[in-house]
Amino acid sequence: MKNVIETKNLCKTYEGVIPIHAVNDVDLQIQDDEFTAIVGPSGSGKSTLLNLIGGLDHPTSGEVIVNGHDLSEFSESKLIDYRLYHIGFVFQAYNLIPVLTVRENIEFIMMLQKRKKEDIKNRIHELLEEVDLLDKINKRPSELSGGQQQRVAVARALATKPEFVLADEPTANLDSKSASNLLDTMERLNKEESITFIFSTHDQRVIDRARRVVTLEDGKIISDVQK
């Protein structure tokens, strides 16, 4: 198995009266097809770690290596391309453009990738079928429930055919039924499309579904369990 993501001595320190080591000397390897949860109490550095891997934030020291490339060597515009072509993002909220329909939201990111029209159309149908929202294709996000919105976000994240999907607390705003629904979807896509999922959470039911659980505390990995 090859490493998709590798961090080496990764540190992120927020300077202040008391410096905060949000991510403190983290060595982490993520391989193809993983379904990994990053867990830990609030403030333990989960979001910071995901943002560093996603090229949204710059480390204070250490390296993030994705498919053999060191992210710190990327320029700002190359980072944007890296995010567009290689990563799918799912955030806790505000994932979708409110003025666009479900179809257009997915179409939009593929247009940013300059994909062919025919290609786009087929992929949208395929994805919405997989997240079971084909009947909502022409609805605006505001017409969907929170769980449905998050499933559209997952579909949007996969639309670009990324190497992996980063999801920072994707279930935080969902009730438990919607949350398990979303997890079902993610699990299925992980198997069927063999997409690597890395998600942060502090919901025990979500943690139970992960195949690997990395636990952070004060920016350090305190346990790493494969099931």
Binding site: Y85, F89, L100
Partner: protein, 402 residues
């Protein structure tokens, strides 16, 4: 797709966008209307001055207008007139004798410019004939005089009243003769009225001991011929003074030029106010969408695209409001251009300065183009700042807020 997003974003806050669009429309409409109104006043004033006072072009002896001495006649004025009246560009040329005289009634006296005219020619050059309120425009006999209503009031005259006119002849003799008021006129320029009276040209020539005209007034068929014709004529008559209304009434020319400038400034002020309004709205629109925009950058939308999206949104706001304003302006100008706006209630005394009390707004096509160009500049200028502010946004900070 970008157009779709921007367009829908414009309508995200309907009320807010509508207010801005309305402000733009009203601003543009008001601006255009002010332009048209002002242009209407000026156009009318110019036409008035041309048609009642100076005509398009005048010929004099080079020294005549310095002191109006009767000896400065136009040599061969009759053959010049003959030629002019055969020129295709000339509607009509009229010969005039002009003398600064003292006119006295039984009650009072006043200095006026007495103009000797041939009513048949003159009535085709100026519109005084149409401005006659009482009596006729014409001379029943050689001792008829046409004066203005204003002068009648001043000298307590009425139709048929007798006046005595005193003047200096070519040989510097003081001559006087009695006239009877045969017509009373009134133009929109009180100052002109007070100082102008008309008699028969031959009669005035006799009194002044002249045999040529002092002034040839030329009305052209088209305003566009004015400058070329003036140049042509002064070339043809090098020893005479040939002047267009622009030289004859320099104040008017100055007025036209400064009006152009001040109207430009008024328009820019209106636009500047709109710029601030638009920038304010767009900043609001951007700031409340920080998370959404942060998300877009995070998932891979380039900053150039974000910038373009905000610019597009601003341009759309303007391009909805501006045409409405232009159309409203056009409709108003066209409607009032034919019906006129009666200002006599609000602006008593405007006539004192020679302005008509009914204004017919008018605006030429090129002015609309100018306004449209200014609006394009407006749209771009007011989009830059909000779009630039969006670029300052750090995706990571916006994402953190999620």
């Amino acid at each position: 797709m970008m157009f779709k997003i921007s367009w829908r974003n414009v309508w995200r806050h309907k009320t807010r966008s509508l207010i801005v669009i309305l402000a733009i429309a009203v601003g543009v409409w008001a601006g255009i209307f002010i332009l048209g109104f002002y242009m209407g006043i000026m156009d009318q004033r110019i036409q008035d001055v041309i048609k009642t006072e100076v005509s398009h072009v005048q010929i004099h002896h080079k020294l005549f207008t310095q002191n109006y001495h009767p000896k400065f006649q136009i040599k061969n004025s009759r053959s010049i007139l003959e030629d002019l009246n055969h020129d295709a560009r000339v509607k009509r040329a009229s010969g005039r004798n002009v003398s600064m005289v003292m006119i006295a009634s039984a009650n009072a006296s006043s200095g006026v410019k007495l103009i000797g005219v041939n009513p048949d020619d003159e009535s085709q050059v100026t519109v005084i004939k149409d401005k006659v309120l009482e009596g006729v425009y014409g001379f029943q006999n050689s001792n008829s005089i046409i004066v203005s209503r204003k002068l009648c009031d001043k000298l307590k005259l009425k139709l048929g009243s007798k006046v005595v006119v005193t003047m200096q002849s070519k040989s510097n003799e003081l001559t006087a003769d009695a006239f009877r008021v045969s017509g009373i006129y009134k133009t929109s320029n009180t100052k002109y009225d007070e100082a102008t009276a008309f008699v028969q040209d031959e009669k005035l020539q006799t009194l002044l001991e002249c045999d040529d005209y002092h002034e040839i007034a030329i009305l052209l068929n088209s305003n566009d011929d004015l400058d070329p014709f003036t140049t042509y004529l002064s070339g043809k008559l090098p020893d005479k003074s040939v002047e267009s209304w622009k030289d004859l009434v320099p104040g008017m020319r100055y007025m036209v030029e400064t009006a152009d400038q001040s109207l430009g400034i008024i328009m820019w002020i209106i636009l500047l106010a709109l710029v601030f309004g638009i920038i304010n709205t767009m900043l609001m629109a951007v700031l409340e969408r920080i998370r959404e925009i942060g998300m877009l950058v995070a998932i891979g939308m380039s900053k150039i695209r974000v910038f373009f999206m905000i610019v597009l949104e601003t341009v759309m706001l303007v391009s909805v409001g501006a045409p409405i304003g232009m159309l409203l302006g056009y409709i108003f100008i066209t409607y009032f251009g034919s019906h006129g706006i009666d200002l006599s209630i609000v602006s008593e005394g405007m006539e004192e300065f020679g302005y008509a009390t009914i204004v017919y707004p008018t605006l030429d096509f090129s002015s609309y183009i100018k306004v449209a160009t200014q609006l394009v500049v407006l749209a771009i200028v007011s989009s830059i700042y909000p779009a630039w502010r969006t670029l300052q946004l750090k995706a990571i900070d916006a994402i953190r807020k999620i």
